[in-house]
């Protein structure tokens, strides 16, 4: 079992808080259901603590690629009207969104 401080106490996920971080409005029902399901999943995932990884390097990517560079050359890109074609709301050549600053 995994917890924040790596003891045997199971960590309870605070779904409401995480949903705020994830920009996701959840209902009270969803928070309750997800909390139970995610705690089950995290309980299962906790078995990773049985693997000794003290001297192991993390693999974030399988390929031995480092910086992939290309020539700094101007190539054609999408036209403004193509870029805006799918926007739910637009004005002139801009995406339109609700007010950001109060």
């Amino acid at each position: 079992m995994v917890s924040k401080d790596n003891n045997n106490k199971k960590s309870e996920i605070d779904v409401g808080y995480v949903a705020k971080l994830a920009r996701l409005a959840l209902t009270a029902d969803e928070i309750k259901r997800l909390g139970k399901q995610l705690n089950d999943i995290l309980g299962y995932i906790g078995k990773l603590n049985n693997v000794d990884t003290a001297k192991v390097q993390p693999t974030s990517h399988v390929l031995p690629l480092k910086n992939v560079e290309r020539t700094d050359k101007v190539v054609p890109s999408l036209r403004i009207e193509e870029t805006l074609k799918n926007a739910p709301l637009k004005e002139n050549s801009f995406f339109k969104v609700p007010k950001v600053i109060e």
Binding site: S3, K4, L24, I41, P88
Partner: protein, 485 residues
Amino acid sequence: MDYTDYYKLTCSEIQKLYRENKASPEQVVDSYLKRIEAVDGKLNAFVKLNRESIDKQLKDLKEKKEKPLYGIPVVIKDNICVRDEETTCASAILKGFKPPYDAAVIERLREAGAILLGKANMDEFAFGSSCETSCYGPTKNPWDLDRIPGGSSGGSAAAVSADEACLGLGSDTGGSIRQPAALCGVVGLKPTYGRVSRYGLIAFASSLDQIGPITKDVRDAALLLNVIGGHDPRDSTSVNAPKPDYTKSLINDIKGLKVAVPKEYFVGGIDKEVSLYIGEAIKTLGSLGAKIGEVSLPHTDYAVSAYYIIAPAEASSNLARFDGVQYGLRSKAAKDSLLEMYNRTRAEGFGSEAKRRVILGTYVLSSGYYDAYYLKALKVRTKIKEDLEAVFKEYDCIVTPTSPTPAFKIGEKKEDPLSMYLSDIFTIPVNLAGIPAISVPCGFTKNGLPVGLQILGKPFDEETLFKAAYAYEQNTEWHKRRPSL
């Protein structure tokens, strides 16, 4: 053969008819459209048919007679961008989205003369193993309409299995090509990470995703990988390695091929009939001259755990782009605040599995939990990769079941996400290690459900997979069975 029966043929069989001037692309496409009309109401494999563009595609074929996929009808998973054709990832949040450009694989298919029939159903954003999380409703398994086709590329696999398309494209992040291919009785290949460009594939987990073929036989998979594989500078993880002609690997000779059988794949939870058929398949490979040896992949049991940290972490980051600004849905409920607009749009647009993964991924990346979960998972990923590398020092390939069970019933695991996640137990290590693997039909249960054999290979050695899979296929009859619909 009457032209209305052309839908039953493989790609190489249709190509032979074209070479002998016995069939035209118009006839072949018409045969497929009639087949789709006849059976897709039962299956729900297609989410969109390219009715308007098919005529134009056929007209544009004139100059392409010598091209490798001239006049071959293909179905495309709905997470691959096709210019001006609705592409939604089977999610309500992308309803109506028409990409302004083609994915790299689509450019290559068009150039090769393929006909894009339409888009295939899938689990929402490829999150799932059953095709049940689609906003269009589930796809049915052509072998038993009460069962799931597998996922997430369930629509592509069901369409190819039911002869609604000659070739299919899927994407595979944790088994999403191989598992539905196995459960629908067709061939599915996940290429090496970096072999096929991801440009225009709507990202799920960028370090794991790979596009690949779903086909009726091994030769067709080689023909399709020949077209879609290769370097593309627009995907910086696409590898600039030489691309062989994969049809050259289709030789019915595996004498001396060193085949490993990992003991961890044959314990607990595996269906008896699946186990039986995999055992038979291993015997067949042995009788063809392959040298079989038992090996250990000691960290197998941790793969699902590592995956369900890494994949949701990457997904939560990739899905941040769906915020109601540039494309897709915008909630009408919040007009006054940008933050509320984000929160509501995502709440209305994402289905329950997408929400689950966004929350899980955000959690394992959040301050205070990153090291305990995400970093730990990346280290275990290293161990899983090293296990496989050690085996490949002595063996040419590894064989396992593709899925621990045949297709399960629709609804059976929908409310139990953990049990759904565990159905990917045999396919996930391949994605974590970035290696290629193929699934081929290797039996049918008493209930008539297909069983798949998975063959794993070294990075960029799809040739050995094709060789082993082709030899197996040439000496068995499983791939010739088709569901009756």
